[in-house]
């Protein structure tokens, strides 16, 4: 028996010793979930963009790392016609596509690839349109289908976009993930083989890393793209270790199993900051968390009910408990870090008595029963939706409303709510181009009520006209005024309870260098390197 013990003790000692990390230039990132696809055109989810567009692809225009400033990407330069309707891009030459086990490119990037990438999403007659479901949510939510009249190839390295109306956020929008450039040559070869959907599973791009292997719910492996046009990356290999549980992500960071982690829990931030090996970068997030009411379902068709719920929720308590005091109470659709933001005049202040009175006026003195959908996952704007729902449930019970908390697996959650199956839903949004329009149009326009991204299905003509006008307007001062008028209507109609703007935290080991915290909530590993990890 004693012998067995000592053997076990030796074994334990042996096993518990810190294992040396082998390959020095492999970076492991503990990510929060599995991507739905590797084609950013097909998704609106940040998880998918992190795994695809942000490592594998380039866009015509890109954001300068860590900022909302636009810099040339695959486009070298551009010209805008005087009427604001024509954009002509000069394309970069000698840009190489990934050469992998499953595809060897025969030519460099050119205008055909741009044409292909946009036509797949806008041209319903294009054979590619229907592949993998044929739903281009982002493209439609940004109203690109009605905005772009035509995309014309002038020659191999010049391409022209013709718009139906002037559009001030157009250039910023081209820097967004769904506007990533895919390889037409690869697409053609797959179409020939009769396996077009492979394009969205085994991606080929021009970006800093190339795709190696993906196992759902386990990992994604990438390798540096040796022919990257901005120069080969310092990292040889990049691994996304898919780790859904945030406390497990933190544990993995601490044991050095990963060097960078996604979305930390607010409750863990304090202990992370105390850890000498970990750096926690932070930045006011470009996000808004909200509770949206489905206006297609009673009693939310009644404006007084919606206003009542706005008065009923103690958002300060939510901020204290869920966000651990970090972040800000949201009184506006857009976060303060967007240029057009100004403290609104009409805000809802916690007032259960007033809520009760409004409910009584609406004929619901006895209260009612509702479902609150709460996301199963942590998002940059909401660290714990289920707990948030429990707080809301408690507030509602004080005004006689019984709330049931409902949740689904993340993909199902998004889909079902897009189809309008919910009564009310907790969700949020992270801006992806820094323009105010990027909040108003995809979330609250009538067009978005069609696609379902407007989870309230709130379509207010007056509001919609204002945000459309603001979109065409080129003068920032006038734009700002238009958005303010829109916000007043939004507040009065109350399709949402705006909850909070979260601070964004990015914890990583101090051995990681060159990692810029992305204001849009994503992560880019281009330009990152590891030091001191050598044996």
């Amino acid at each position: 028996m004693l012998k067995a013990y000592s053997v076990a003790a030796i074994l334990l000692f042996f096993l518990s010793g810190n294992l040396q990390l082998a390959a020095a230039s492999t970076l492991v990132y503990c990510s929060e979930g599995s991507p739905e696809t590797f084609n950013p055109q097909l998704s609106t989810s940040g998880t998918t963009f992190d795994a695809s567009s942000r490592q594998l692809y380039n866009r015509l225009l890109e954001f300068k790392p860590g900022t909302t400033e636009i810099v040339p990407g695959l486009a070298l330069s551009w010209e805008i016609s005087a009427n604001g309707l024509e954009y002509t891009f000069q394309l970069r030459q000698k840009v190489r596509f990934h050469s992998t086990e499953y595809f060897t490119p025969g030519r460099n990037f050119n205008a055909d690839d741009v044409l292909y990438s946009f036509n797949r999403q806008r041209n319903t007659a294009d054979p590619w349109y229907k592949v993998s479901g044929g739903v281009y949510k982002y493209f439609n939510d940004m109203e690109f289908n009605s905005l772009i009249r035509d995309v014309i190839k002038l020659d191999d390295y010049r391409i022209k976009f013709v718009l139906n109306k002037p559009d001030s956020p157009f250039l910023s929008n081209l820097a967004m993930d769904f506007a990533s450039i895919l390889s037409k040559e690869y697409a053609d070869s797959l179409m020939q083989k009769g396996a077009p959907e492979k394009l969205d599973i085994r991606p080929i791009g021009t970006g800093p890393f190339m795709f190696i292997k993906y196992e759902k719910d386990a990992f994604i492996r990438y390798q540096a793209h040796p022919g990257y046009w901005r120069g080969r990356e310092a990292l040889d290999k990049l691994v996304f270790a898919i780790t859904v549980d945030p406390s497990v992500r933190y544990a993995r960071l601490r044991t050095g199993e990963c060097q960078v982690m996604a979305y930390p829990l607010p409750t863990d931030i304090k202990s992370m900051k105390k850890n000498p090996a970990i750096k926690v970068a932070e930045q006011p997030g470009l996000n808004t968390a909200y509770w949206s009411f489905n206006l297609r379902k009673p009693p939310f068709d009644q404006v007084r009910v919606r206003q009542a719920l706005n008065y009923a929720i103690n958002r300060q308590a939510i901020l204290d408990v869920i966000y651990q005091g970090t972040g800000k109470i949201a009184d506006s659709v857009i976060p303060p870090s967007i240029w057009s933001w100004k403290a609104p005049d009409n805000v809802y202040v916690y007032n259960p008595d007033r809520a009760k009175k409004l409910l009584a006026d609406a004929g619901y003195a006895e209260g009612f029963e509702i479902d609150i959908w709460a996301m199963p996952v942590q998002r940059p704007y909401n660290p714990n939706a289920r707990k948030m729902a429990e707080l809301i449930q408690q507030d509602l019970s004080k005004i006689g409303i019984r709330a049931n908390i409902v949740t689904y697996e993340w993909g199902t959650y998004l889909k079902k709510s897009r189809d309008g199956e919910h009564q009310s839903i907790l969700l949020g949004w992270t801006g992806d181009n820094g323009d105010p329009d990027n909040f108003f149009t995809p979330l609250l326009s009538c067009a978005a009520a069609e696609t379902g991204n407007n989870r309230s299905f709130w379509c207010n003509k007056q509001f919609d006209d204002l945000i459309s006008l603001a979109r065409i307007e080129q003068d920032p001062v006038k734009r700002k005024k238009l958005y303010r008028r829109a916000e007043v209507i939004f507040k009065q109609q109350a399709p949402w309870v705006t909850i909070a703007h979260a601070v964004r935290y990015q914890p990583y080991l101090k051995s990681v260098q060159g990692l810029e915290i992305d204001p849009f909530g994503g992560i880019y590993f281009s330009g990152v390197n590891l030091k001191g990890a050598v044996e």
Binding site: L15, L19, T26, G134, T243, D245, A251, R252, E257, E409
Partner: protein, 335 residues
Amino acid sequence: MPQLLLRRLLLIIPGFLGITALTFFLIRLAPGDPILLLAGEHGVTAERYAELQHQFGFDKPLLIQFADYLWQVLNGNLGTSVVTQTPVLEEFGKLFPATLELAVIAIIFATIIAIPAGVLAAVKRNSFIDHSITVVSLVGYSMPIFWWALLLILLFSVNLGWMPVAGRLNFIYDIDPVTGFMLIDTLIAGDQDAFLDALHHLVLPAIVLATIPLAVITRMTRSSMLEVLKQDYIRTARAKGISEFSVIFKHALRNALIPVITVIGLQTSILMTGAILTETIFSWPGIGKWILEAVYRRDYPVVQGGVLLIAGLVILVNTVVDLLYVVINPVLRQQ
């Protein structure tokens, strides 16, 4: 005896048939139209719906549908995952080695500890050691293993930092899945660090998964041993002056082990139950986690196929154990 074996083997057939029927009809009870589920994001037109209904055979009577399904299953076609579009059998094949590896390590671990502990408790009957072993095995038997796993993580990973919290292997190692068994694959790759890392990752999940079998086997060994020690031939052996060690290990244990081996074999079902919880907590990429996630995602073909495969496996193992029992049991062998 051959007749007995044959009868036992033949019993597998109604078992498989029944499992297939059960999973088939259970899933048919699930809410939601399978065509709409398969169509995914944007639904289908009425024409396309009818077409699909015909294509999947949903317009046929339920019994015919079942016969079709059975035929498919017999041909090795268990359907395709709605989420990943991969055949269910292929996904199972890819993930099963991870579960098997964990389960095998766990059961070996449990057996190595449980048999000596059970013997010790029986030999020192009613002593302090016996009582301690009995209490510990009762606690183990009553353990909510999902909580046990969290406690171990709290102690060994969070506080002491000795053990990894999740996964099978540190992600810096990229090992080709030749056999699917990480311990073997790392050796094939000749990567000693990776091998140790894989072993390291196995420790906590294996302890958790072994907990209940450990308790069950200990209890079984103890009572079986007590039973045997009362037998006449043991008394005879002792009377002959054979050393106590020899009596216990050569004579008693050999006979006491027969029911114990059966019990070990019958742990498959318990191990599968444990695997669902253990794999979920430790993010172990095996079939337990796979099937649970399929439930969350409403991926019914995976749920249906997965349950069928797991239940089939349990039936198979139980049959093998039964047969083994017949083979090794001298009483039955003579019949």
